[in-house]
């Protein structure tokens, strides 16, 4: 089991909280900025989430905690032994929603675009306040019925 811990089965929940707070902030700000400017911020937020999903060090919002809030002593680490993959999956799902939202906004389907943006914002808000991660829930359900690729399933490395 120690191998699991040392091979990355650790999650800093305050890094995730920072990520969620910044997602809420960015998406709400995008809405406030209006359709013309806001859609670019929606797209940028989607890019940040997608980059962080594909390569963890590129997760800009999470790096804000690791490289700024943590060194400045503004937000401590809150490390738990758990699988980070469901959280990465959830982030990827958020990115997919934001890309769809941006596409809708650029295509002129404004209500759909903002509805998708607000879904991401609402789920990040719920995760931040009650620690219910909807994307992780989807991951666990897909994992349970064996629909996840072996590389990201919970039993990865053991197969």
């Amino acid at each position: 089991m120690s191998n699991e811990v040392e091979s990355g089965y650790r999650v800093d929940r305050n890094t995730l909280r920072t990520n969620q707070a910044l997602i809420v902030g960015a998406t709400v700000l995008a809405f406030v900025l209006g359709d013309e400017r806001g859609r670019w911020l929606v797209l940028a937020t989607g890019v940040v989430l997608a980059a962080g999903t594909l390569y963890a060090p590129l997760a800009l919002f999470q790096q804000a905690h690791r490289r700024l809030l943590l060194p400045l002593g503004l937000l401590r680490a809150d490390i738990h032994a758990e699988d980070p993959m469901p959280h990465r999956f959830a982030q990827g799902l958020g990115a997919a929603f934001l890309f769809a939202a941006a596409a809708a906004l650029f295509a002129g389907a404004t209500p759909l675009g903002w509805a998708l943006t607000w879904i991401v914002s609402a789920l990040a808000f719920v995760n931040l306040t009650v620690q219910f991660c909807a994307g992780c829930f989807v991951y666990l359900q897909l994992d349970r019925v064996g629909l996840l690729p072996a590389a990201i399933a919970s039993g990865r490395g053991a197969r």
Binding site: E4, Y9, L33, D78, I79, V130, D143, S154, G155
Partner: protein, 181 residues
């Protein structure tokens, strides 16, 4: 822009209200489940909290522990905590259930997430249901009737328990205590 800011504020307020309502509903649900389990209205049949065990299920301290095969927190935190507790309290019975494969029992305890632990005291009375990881010290406090300090004291108590049992600061899984990092 002011109009959109006000709409955003209203939506955030609505979200906050929905979250508060959800928390309130969950707290009420937990209280109701606890009350029904204690009064015997819930799960008094076979396989329920008072059945499906060897010997007299009402006697002696026990923990009903719900996990799943894919639960990492269970494997890395809850199971070692229960192992520590079992060493500290030799009379303790731990009943392990898979929340997915044994859904009827999980439903009786209203299991929505794993790990979940239901703690029964010496007299067989249901003391508490912990939803999420419960440190060994918290479980020990519940079993012995002490009021657990859940606001940060749990981790400290966990360390004291580990020190008493001669365990190093790193636990059995090799996981370091969060504040040691």
């Amino acid at each position: 822009m002011l109009e959109r800011a006000l709409v955003a504020l209203a939506l955030l307020a609505l979200l906050a209200a929905a979250v508060a309502a959800g928390r309130w509903w969950l707290a009420r649900r937990d209280a109701r489940i606890l009350r029904e389990l204690r009064s015997g209205e819930r799960g008094s049949g076979a396989g329920g909290p008072r059945g499906g065990c060897d010997g007299d299920p009402r006697r002696g301290p026990r923990i009903v522990y719900f996990t799943t095969r894919s639960c990492v927190v269970c494997r890395l935190q809850q199971q070692p905590a229960l192992d520590t507790l079992a060493r500290e309290l030799p009379g303790l019975r731990i009943e392990r259930h898979d929340a997915v494969e044994e859904q009827p029992i999980a439903d009786i305890y209203g299991v929505l997430s794993v790990p979940t632990t239901a703690v029964y005291g010496e007299g067989g009375e249901l003391v508490a249901i912990n939803r999420g990881f419960a440190p060994a010290a918290v479980l020990a406090a519940q079993l012995t009737g002490r009021a657990p300090d859940l606001e940060g004291g749990a981790a400290m108590e966990g360390e004291r328990l580990a020190e008493r049992s001669g365990a190093p600061r790193r636990d059995e899984t090799g996981a370091r205590h969060p504040d040691a990092i």
